[in-house]
Amino acid sequence: MSGHSTYQPQNAFMKWMERRLPIAGLIHSSFVAYPTPRNLNYWWTFGGILTFLLGMQIVTGIILVMHYTPHADMAFNSVEHIMRDVNYGWLLRYLHSNGASMFFVAVYIHMFRGMYYGSYKEPREVLWILGVILYLLMMATGFLGYTLPWGQMSFWGATVITNFFSAIPVVGESVVTWLWGGYSVGNPTLQRFFSLHYLLPFVIVGLVVLHVWALHVVGQNNPTGIEPKSAKDTVPFTPYATVKDAFFMMCFCVVFAWFVFYMPNYLGHADNYIPANPAVTPLHIVPEWYYLPFYAILRAIPNKLMGVVALGGSIVILAFLPWLDTSKVRSANYRPLFRQFFWIFVLVCLGLGWLGAKPAEGGYVIAARILTIYYFAHFIIILPLLGWIEKTKPLPNSISESILKEGLPAGGSGPAPTVSKH
């Protein structure tokens, strides 16, 4: 996949540069000449969308920080100041807050795509694990950012989430005091959360570089789940993948803009427009929508420590997916049983998300328990067993054979640099 760069510097300056810092050659071989499977569908465009959203969050965030005050007495009003006084402040803030939601929409699609097409399987385990770490960092960053407006949901969300650490035996209370920088969530907490919320996106950028590097070492998976065998199976990244990514990114941005301009508060909570009040807990406290499935798992378990362990476990287990799925066939297109269980799993995740927004009582708790058990069973029982009992469909000989159904003499042995032989 990597190989030597075919980049030819065009002018004297680029020739001079290439001998000293071959960055243009690196970009050329990674994003222009890079061979990408010719059968990628639109589900493969979300990596590019995520990169775009990360950049947008950083740019809007940097400008928002110029007007925001990270102090418990002033944070709430400074956010209102952004909304009312700052030129286009309303737009920047809505882009940033809805951008976080869109970020999670895109990452969930990206992850489910990886699960459907078996993108985590050998040799893409490290690529997948880097993705899980990125997802964890995103969750942390989103949570820290949600605290900053210092509304009621900010304050009580911060209280509930930091209290997860009080479940640690013996040292739990000291750890929580250390995290808060006080005896309760207060100004020191807000200031450190602001510091970390500014830091983590750049850590994410660093890990994205590793993620893309790992991707370019092992190459992209594709809907057939079989590796490209000849030049006929791939097309150059530019223009083919570039234009496809860019086109779908614009479609995604239409949805994004629809939220920003027509329903900017739909994904938030009205309670967060009430300034933080340490004396009153909102009657119905809910996290942001993207944490709801995990929140449902936390509440499903009637024991504090085990609830927190299950919540953590439900995310950590994703890192072990490459070894829990025992099937040699990657793509669900050729795994009839797995495909059904995959969609059941998607429904279970959506169900947990719905339950996470409901009060923790009666039938909701029972349903959350059943779905929590299924969530873990999917990874621990169903995936390992399917590899043994499932009868998979025959795989095509090559990517080009799978799309050129007329049955061209596809793949074959030798490399086929030109197709002008016919």
């Binding site: 009580w156 209280t159 509930v160 930091t162 209290n163 997860f164 009080s166 005091t177 250390w178 995290l179 808060w180 920088g181 006080g182 005896y183 309760s184 969530v185 207060g186 020191p188 450190r192 340490p278 004396a279 009153v280 807990t281 909102p282 009657l283 119905h284 406290i285 509440r299 378990i301 009637p302 024991n303 504090k304 420590l305 609830g307 009060p359 923790a360 009582e361």
Partner: protein, 191 residues
């Protein structure tokens, strides 16, 4: 070239070998270990201020000094909320019925068994002082509510009785008691 060097080495018996094996520790081994040890101590020493700076600062600790609460205005059956160290403290003036309910419970049936008289000061069963933070994930329970007419946490449904003991729900322990004492019959100092 290579062959000549090899030949040279072969004929040079008695010369010191370029690298030593495990037999004798060299000055370089000593330097490695000494440098690594000093470096490790340096890293550990640097961690102390970095970690300590995230713990509560002097002003936060000073603001956590004890407070006094006048019990006079609290009517029977009323629960008031005061703040100490940013934590809500419930001061409950319990009725006879509430005390009765708290004392008639079969202790063995409680998740965190504790008799009611251990949760109030001796001779003052009507005054109960609790840290009003749910022991599950830190929300503030609502007084005079829930199945046992004690406290109910709206976040995740933990139910406490009139003694602040956990009766059902995900909270693992009873509502804790803050350190406090009676300065006079109608005044307490919390902290």
């Amino acid at each position: 070239m290579a062959c000549c060097v090899d030949g040279l080495d072969d004929t040079n018996e008695g010369r010191k070998p370029v690298t030593t094996t495990s037999a004798e520790p060299t000055r370089r081994d000593f330097l490695y270990i000494a440098t690594a040890s000093v470096g490790a101590v340096g890293v550990a020493a640097a961690l102390v201020p970095l970690i300590a700076a995230m713990n509560p600062d002097a002003s936060t600790i000073a603001a956590g000094a004890p407070i006094e609460v006048d019990l006079g205005p609290i009517a029977e059956g009323q629960v008031i909320k005061v703040f100490w160290r940013g934590k809500p403290i419930f001061v409950s003036h319990r009725t006879k019925k509430e005390i009765e309910e708290a004392r008639s419970v079969n202790l063995a049936s409680l998740p965190d068994p504790q008799p009611d008289d251990k949760r109030v000061k001796e001779g003052k069963p009507q005054w109960q002082v609790l840290i009003g933070i749910c022991t599950h994930l830190g929300c503030i329970p609502i007084a005079h509510s829930g199945q046992y007419n004690g406290y109910f946490c709206p976040c995740h449904g933990s139910v406490y009785d009139t003694s602040g003991r956990i009766r059902s729900g995900p909270a693992p322990t009873n509502l804790p008691l803050p350190p406090y004492e009676f300065v006079s019959d109608s005044k307490i100092r919390i902290g």
